[in-house]
Amino acid sequence: MPTWKVMKGNEAAAWAAKLAKPKVVAAFPITPSTLVPEKISEFVANGEMDAEFIKVESEHSAISACVGASAAGVRVFTATASQGLALMHEILFIAAGMRLPIVMAIGNRALSAPINIWNDWQDTISERDTGWLQFYAENNQEALDLILIAFKVAEDERVLLPAMTGFDAFILTHTVEPVEIPDQEVVDEFLGEYVPKHAYLDPKRPITQGALGFPAHYMEARYTVWEAMENAREVIKEAFEEFEKKFGRKYQMVEEYKTEDAEIILVTMGSLAGTVKEFVDKKREEGLKIGAAKITVYRPFPIEEIKALAKKTKVLAILEKDISFGLGGAVFGDVGRTLINESEKPIVLDFILGLGGRDVTFANLEEVIEISEKAMKEGVEEDVFWIGLRKEIL
């Protein structure tokens, strides 16, 4: 029988790692993710987890140790956030290029400057081109589940790419919620043992990993990462289905909420989806035709799902806690790419909000609706809006 525990998002991530039975965990503490490796080191010290816990001197070393361990052929887990993830940046490309299915938990946190420990998605969003799969959790249960699913997808032979699961700093990492801990035997069945077919060390099978790729071969190597990411779409769907059968919780690339007949759909990710769904309920009661959509899988980007979503509505309002300076939000850019060649498409507006831990309130969402309605009636003059800005101090 699965057991219930009241726990923080960080503990849920550590429990997911415990259930997945990685052989190596290398991590360096950083707010707000410190509790993840802390809890894991406790599991290891208590003999509840049979893993090598490697203490390192930086995040760059943490992910490098993970690459080494994964290249040796074992299941590997780590956790970080914000500046720590940024410090890992160059090695993230290497993990993906070497097709090492490392799984990493991220307590999504803002990037400096100014230094800020609170939530937004700039850290993981900035790593979107590294070749890592990206999942975003709405609550602590999803954080646990999506780490297990990340292992399942990452290690699939059709994919073999590293994966990161993000859950919002403090809003989830440090907030307690009831979480169902699945049975170990069922998790074992779901994940199976990691048996590497390519990346492993064996003196009887000498190989070279991470070799130089000349111009004659580099593009083909990168293309196989592209292909693997494309394959991941199908593999993720299969993993979601199997997860639902085994554990009873349903996941989708994009989760739609009251989108039928919706004239405005608020598209978002992570814990903000919870707020947005509640807001949709309130506005529906007031008779407004709005809906919500939560992007659970950001890489690979759910292109078909967003195209289908776009057909249902007049306005897609993207609510995102990240900014690509000089362009707009990253999700906005991705949705734009998705719809560019569609013959009919809705108005797409971008709302930058909640940066660096700024609360996103119903008042903010009312403003989003107002702007969206105005665009519907009068056309689009502007398409990127900063919501909740304290203009009086600018």
Binding site: G97, M98, R99, L100, L160, K197, H198, A199, R205, P206, I207, T208, Q209, A211, G213, H217, E220, A221, Y223, T224, A228
Partner: protein
């Protein structure tokens, strides 16, 4: 003239080498770097004067490639397929039996 000590390896790799891309660009064939004829990078080429050579083996010892091996009489033989023209052998040679000259192709 003695044969390259790597001849068998080079022959084996030539036979078994495949360009087929593998997941993670893993290289499965040991010694397959011999496919890369690093001699093509060369600008200067070592010119050898046997009369000055005292067979001290310093060039053979210092060659980082290694693109120098010894013949039956212990004189150095330069493997121009792999010699990058770095000039270390000429620099180390105590009798100036090796000099670097610009290679004209």
């Amino acid at each position: 003239m003695a044969e390259s000590p790597f001849k068998a390896d080079i022959e084996r790799v030539k036979k078994e080498y495949s360009e087929k891309m593998t997941p993670g660009a893993v290289v499965y064939l040991p010694g397959s770097s011999v496919i890369n004829k690093t001699g093509s990078w060369r600008v200067f080429i070592p010119e050898f004067n046997k009369d000055k050579c005292v067979r001290c083996f310093l060039c053979y010892t210092y060659c980082p490639e290694p693109a120098i091996y010894l013949d039956d009489e212990s004189y150095p033989v330069f493997d121009y397929d792999y010699c990058k023209g770095c000039g270390i052998c000429a620099n180390e040679c105590p009798t100036k039996a090796i000099v670097m000259v610009r290679e004209v192709k």
